[in-house]
Structure formats: structure tokens, C-alpha cells
Amino acid sequence: MRRGAAVLLSVLAASCGGQALAAAAPSRVVSIHLCADQLVLALAERGQIASVSWLATDVRRSHMAKAAAGLRLNNGSAEEIVALRPDLVLAGFRSGRATVGALRKLGYRVVDLEFADNFDVVRRQTRKVAGLLGRAARGEALIAEMDSRLARAAADVPALRPVAAIYQPMGFTSGRGSLEHALMTAAGFENLAAQRGMGALGHLPLESLVMAKPAVLINWMGNDPAPSLARSFYDHPALSAGPWRTLALPNMYWACGAWYSALAVEQLAGMRRRLTAERPK
């Protein structure tokens, strides 16, 4: 019945001469995950969005923080989502299973998004959400923009790729199968962790990093201003004593794989070009 009302509403909206949304397009979309927020905010008509997650307005983690301003935010609890009367709920890979289960039981349409750890998944996911929202053309435009950025970044990759290491607090690093790996590789770097056979989450003690001497050290904490042990770790003198260049990428780029990940790839490729310009081999 609730869904019937929603369909009726959207049909009314369409027949009232509004924008040509497909009749079946949802009109009360609720996203309960930061990564789903990004796609919803970039793809949907503003009027389609009933609510996004509370992280969507956090400029440190959300690329679309500006677009999220003024929208209703949710904490992802079943109770507040039901109160929003959604006709489509977008959940992420880390959304509470209990919440998602409860919503499905109540008859809501919940679509799970997987974590995009490479650009193929980004393309697939963007098309999927664009389709769900009835905004296929906008989705294709985002993908085309991303692909042209990626092509430019990969245009001048040398045969001998410089080695970069991504350093996370407490000695974690990201190897093959991680979003970090996808970004570094797309920018023309060799990933130290992947070289050493590490999977998506590897462990690289500070000592081993110093011994490996990568050309570039990517600071995973980026620009997080809040004090934490994790951040103080980047002040360690052993990190500044090495011969490498460091690059701090805002940690928004590690939170979700999305079309804007290409912007991170551009920054990384810029660093790679500066390196090769300095030390011609």
C-alpha cells in the first residue's frame, strides 16, 4: 500500500509536467551508507532524496559534502528509516545487517552496494545506481568523465614504474585487491605492498618500510585535523628521515571507490611526473 502511494505520487509528479523521470523512478530515496550517499547525491534529482547518512556532510570523508547540506541526515537505524517512508533504501557493505534485515522484513526495498575496490566495480556500481534512480544518462556522463581522467593519467607511464608505499597508522598497508592499489597502479606506480605479495590489508612495520626505501610514501591519514595516535604516528622522525617524497591524500579518497577516485589518481600521477622529471633515467 505504501509503495502504491509512492508510485502514485511519482506518476503524479511526472504527469504534472515535471522532468522526465521514468514513472517507476523512486521518489523517496534513503541512503544509509557514506559510499551510497556519494552516488545518490551525484546522480539523483534533489527532490528524489529523502535522506542521506550522517557522514554525508563530513567534508573529511564525503566528496559530496556540499551537495548534502540541508538534506535530512540519518544514523542508519531501522526506526528512523521507517519514519522516512522510503521507496528505495541504499545500504553499503558495512551497514548493519540487523537493520537491513529488519527493513526487508517490513517490505522495504533495500539495495546493497559492494565496496568498489577497483574501477570496474566503480563503473558497474555507478550504472546500477543510476539505473535504479532512473538517471542512466547522468551515470554514463560520470563514467565518461572518470575514464578520460584515467586515460590522461596513464598516458605517460614509464616502463620502469617508481615504487610507492601507502602507509596507514600502526603499520598497515594495502596490497593487491585494495582500492589503494587500484589508485596507485592507475597513476603509474608500482605498489610496494603488492610487490611483496600482500593482499588488500597487509602489515608493514616502520622498520621494514625504512629498509625498503620506496620513492614515494603516501600518507593515508591525509588532512585529518583531529588529534589521534594514528595521526601523531606520521610525525615519527623515521618517516621524515628517509629519502622518499611524501604525498598526503585526503582520506576521503580511501573511504569509497567512486568516479571521483580519478581525482586522486590525477594527484598521484602528478607526483610521479615530478619524480621522473627530477631523476631522468
Binding site: H203, P205, M211, P227, S228, L229, P237, A238, A241, G242
Partner: protein, 331 residues
């Protein structure tokens, strides 16, 4: 100093030196003794030199400083309270110091410098020791002392967890274990430098209590007749423990049981004299902490085990054995 105590000091100093050398040699990258030595005497910009000077040296120094502080504080508290179960961790001084430090670290550091951390730790430790005296009194039974300590300790740990959950950093919540279980991984020389002065002041205060504690072991009245001022003794120990433990915890997190095990093991060797126990417990604490920190590095293949986990794995059974022993004696 009798020749027996002299031999004990010699043995402990040798153990600390040997373990310190081992600590320099232990780590994920295999460095030869030669490269460690040349990094120490003739530092250059090579990776092995950076590893030795910036990673292993502060770690080894801090293990010695923190271990000595905890061992000495444990011995002093046990002497003052005439209770073998007293220890900075058990009476809640460590967890309260961790709370004070975490509070400043996550909320107040923006406008201040690293050097405030020990002060915050000391304030926390001081409050805990003061509260313990108020709650358990000075003639506390072992049971009431432990109960008071457990209450203070759990309360401080809960406050630490609460404070960190409210911190604005997304990573802070993962860092609760550092404050509650302690670690010396990837600390820097700056940490050693900010903590060392406060620790040294605490050591001086506590070591000055030797004669007083020896007299006190003969009973309060005897101690008074020997000219010992109990009020001054208590004040010096409270302040000394606050300085030493507060400064330790502010750079290493709360590490338990060191102050319990060390004095207990060494007590027979100094003829059960709480005054002579102080100095040897310092060296013993340093040795135990170095050993525990080496074990942590040897056991860990991925992320390091917390130092407090290792000391608790040794210390908790030890604590229970002590309790059983006391019950048998009294029953």
C-alpha cells in the same frame, strides 16, 4: 650496603644491559650487531642507522624508564601500605593516568604541546592514589585495598573509553587499546625526553623514602619513635608515584602488573627490607619491561601484541597465586 645486596645490584645491572642489547637486536628487519653498533657510534643516513636511532633506541630507553618507574612505584606502595598486593595498576593509578592523558591527547592537544601529556598523566595518577587513601584508609585490609583499586581502575577505564568514543577523530575509537593495554611500538625520542624529567623527580622522591619504609616495617609506633614522620612519608610516596607512573603512562599507556611482580620476586633477596627493596625493584622493573617488550616483538608477525597483554599474561596468574598464598597463611 651489604655485599649480598651489592651482588644483587650487579646481577640486575648486567641483566638490564644484556636485555637492552637484545632489544637493539630485535625487530622485523634483521640487522647485524656490527651495523647496530656503527649506527649508535657513527650515525649516518642509511636505513639501518635510522632504524636503530629513531625506532629501536627510543623503544629501548622507554622500556628501561617505564619499567624502572613501575617497579619502584610498586615497591614503595607495597612498603607504605604494608600490603604485597599494592601496585600502580591494581590500585588504579595507571588507568587514571591513562584517562588524564587521553583526555588531553584527544581534546586539548590542539592548542598545547606534547609536553603537557606527562602533567595530565600525573594529575590522573595523583587523583587515583588520593582517592585510594580516602576509600581504603591507611590500615586497609588487602581485600578492601583491592576492592577500592578495582573500583577506581574500572571507573577510569570506562571514562577513558567514553572520552575516546567522543573524540572527533574517526580513528580514536581504535586506539582505546593503546591507553588501556600500553605499547612502546614506534615511540620517539621526543616521548622519552618529555617523560624522563618527571620520572627522575619521582625516582628521587621515592628513593628518599628507603629509611622511612624500613622503619615502618617495624610498626607505626616504632617508626615514630625512630623519628619518621608518617605524614611526610605518605606525601612523598603519593607524589613520587604520581610523577613516575603519570609520566610513564602518558607515553606508553597503562601497563599492569610490573610493579606487582618485581618487588615480590626480589623481596627475599633483600631480607624483606622494604627500604632496600626500592633500588633493586627499579632495576628489576627495567629488566622485566625490556624482556616483555622483546617478547612482544618476537611473537608478533602482523600487528604487534600490546605490551600490557604480555605483562597481564604473566602478572594475573602471579596475582592469583599471591592471593591464595595469603589466604593459606591467614586461614
Amino acid at each position: 650496603m651489604t655485599s649480598r645486596t651489592g651482588a644483587l645490584y650487579g646481577f640486575l645491572a648486567l641483566a638490564v644491559t644484556g636485555l637492552a642489547i637484545l632489544s637493539f637486536m630485535t625487530g622485523p628487519s634483521a640487522l647485524s650487531a656490527g651495523s647496530v653498533w656503527s649506527a649508535l657510534v657513527a650515525p649516518d643516513a642509511s636505513p639501518s642507522s635510522i632504524i636503530v636511532r629513531e625506532i629501536r633506541l627510543p623503544r629501548t630507553l622507554l622500556a628501561i624508564l617505564v619499567g624502572a618507574s613501575l617497579g619502584l612505584s610498586g615497591a614503595a606502595l607495597q612498603g607504605l601500605l604494608r600490603n604485597p598486593l599494592a601496585e600502580p595498576g591494581i590500585i588504579g593509578a595507571s588507568s587514571s593516568a591513562a584517562f588524564g592523558t587521553a583526555l588531553v591527547f584527544y581534546f586539548g592537544l590542539a592548542g598545547s604541546s606534547l609536553a603537557v601529556l606527562p602533567a595530565a598523566g600525573m594529575t590522573g595518577a595523583m587523583l587515583a592514589v588520593g582517592l585510594l587513601f580516602a576509600l581504603a584508609g591507611r590500615d586497609a585490609t588487602p581485600l578492601s585495598l583491592i576492592l577500592a583499586g578495582v573500583a577506581i581502575s574500572s571507573f577510569a577505564s570506562a571514562l577513558t573509553a567514553l572520552a575516546i568514543n567522543l573524540a572527533s577523530s574517526a580513528y580514536a575509537a581504535l586506539e582505546i587499546t593503546f591507553w588501556l593495554l600500553g605499547s612502546l611500538a614506534d615511540r620517539t625520542m621526543a616521548h622519552a625526553a618529555i617523560a624522563a624529567p618527571a620520572m627522575a623527580a619521582g625516582w628521587v622522591l621515592l628513593l628518599s623514602c628507603g629509611r622511612g619504609l624500613s622503619s615502618l616495617s617495624l610498626g607505626e609506633d616504632t617508626a615514630k619513635s625512630l623519628g619518621v614522620s608518617l605524614a611526610s612519608l605518605r606525601a612523598r610516596i603519593v607524589l613520587g608515584v604520581a610523577l613516575a607512573v603519570g609520566a610513564s603512562v602518558s607515553v606508553s599507556g597503562a601497563i599492569g602488573f610490573v610493579g606487582l611482580i618485581v618487588p615480590h620476586l626480589l623481596r627475599p633477596a633483600v631480607g624483606h627490607d622494604p627500604g632496600r627493596l626500592l633500588g633493586v625493584s627499579m632495576l628489576g622493573g627495567a629488566a622485566l619491561m625490556l624482556a616483555a617488550d622483546i617478547v612482544v616483538r618476537l611473537l608478533s608477525s602482523g600487528i604487534e601484541i600490546r605490551l600490557g597483554v604480555v605483562t597481564a599474561l604473566i602478572g594475573a596468574p602471579f596475582f592469583l597465586a599471591l592471593l591464595l598464598q595469603m589466604r593459606r597463611r591467614s586461614g
